[in-house]
Symmetry: C2
Subunit: 238 residues, 2 copies
Amino acid sequence: MPRKPRKGDVAADEAVYGAIRRAMHMGRLAPGTKLQEPALARVLGVSRERVRKALHRLVHEGWLTAIPNRGTFVPSLTTEEMRQIYDVRSMLEAAIVRRLSEGHTTAAAKRLKAHVSEEKAATRRDDRGRLFELSGEFHVLLAELCGNDELTRLLRGLLTRSTMHFSLAAPRQLTNCAGPHDHGDIADAILGGRADKAAKLMLGHLAGLVTLQAARPPQHEPVDIQEAFRGIKARRDS
Amino acid sequence: MPRKPRKGDVAADEAVYGAIRRAMHMGRLAPGTKLQEPALARVLGVSRERVRKALHRLVHEGWLTAIPNRGTFVPSLTTEEMRQIYDVRSMLEAAIVRRLSEGHTTAAAKRLKAHVSEEKAATRRDDRGRLFELSGEFHVLLAELCGNDELTRLLRGLLTRSTMHFSLAAPRQLTNCAGPHDHGDIADAILGGRADKAAKLMLGHLAGLVTLQAARPPQHEPVDIQEAFRGIKARRDS
DNA sequence: AAGCCAAGAAATGTGCACATCCTGTTGGAG
DNA sequence: CTCCAACAGGATGTGCACATTTCTTGGCTT
């Protein structure tokens, strides 16, 4: 028997997908880097087809860019693309906070308060990593509280693409979503039923993020695949 | 030599993708239909891997649903999912028409007027097919006029998923976007700079589409793959 | 010396064959 | 007669090997 692709191996491609995604999230892969399949297969210890499938998925999701017969590359994100993404987010999230301000369940209010308090706790502990995660989840949480799965999925995609800039440009310098008090203020406006104020705060919050990312180092040094995936192997999720 | 996969074959998978997508758009494939790879490969005259790749792409885009080791199926769309999609569209398109009402270029106004007049012409000619296309393009056009590529791509995806209901449920009975005068009224409000009115009209328009699709035949008879792909082979685009 | 051409090497894309899993059927037991 | 279990047929998933294309290196020409 060469190898039994048992039922447990169905999560293997998911692991490869997560490994590459995590490497990008950590800022290990600079824009313009070519991700060649044999090298990734050798480093990750899986077959080339597995890598191939994961790469195709990442390309389709917008994380990578593929050129036929050339390979897949880490995209060089333009500030214009970033502005457009945040523009769409402004449209959606302003509508979201307006809707939540006009009416929400007590359970929703409870989850929102819990999240804000958790963010404040992370801020006091100065836990940058946790705060980075929570900051992103805040925006997804607002979409979830609307009870619209499609909306949640869409916003999650936009948000992951937004965080690409943080990850690829300056992963360790920037903290995260501007000031932590922003989320608290937005939550207060929602819970208080002040739709206009909540929308205005959200728009200002997103605009602040754009200007925060405006100044970033345009230089990128070449990356070694072997070095980039040091300590990254299995496990799933982002 | 078995076969030369020349450079012209790079568009072959695109053709397979378009063929399946067109079959769905024509309402040939009823919800719940299992699309098995050998049958599709035999009918379309391509290799199984080509079909496989197209199926994976369609699954990733939400057109089909895949169950591991079971196959890919045409999804049975719930009215709840449809409502959620139109809910997201309401958020985005209300913001779009508001933005366009507050300011747009003369070129944008020209394109908008041209589109509306073309819709009216199609209505006079009673050209249902053309009007169906134009009705969808109207909503995409509004996104394009905002000059945001990300927004256009997102809305296009939502719109194709919206038309799935028309296609799968009752492709030949329903005409399209409710009344053709709706689009004209929205355009007039935009060109007149009446943001609130334009947004209100758009929300009403989308709400009308939802109620229009509420009553649909829940029955679906089994489909033969051989028969479904009659006259559908190559060519690209949607 | 600089630019161009050609040959080798490596990477991508594709078809093929096999292993595994699911499903429909048939036979037997209760 | 009904239900369960084993089996056969077929479909999906995966690894492998090859064809094609592209990039690089070396040598040649101007």
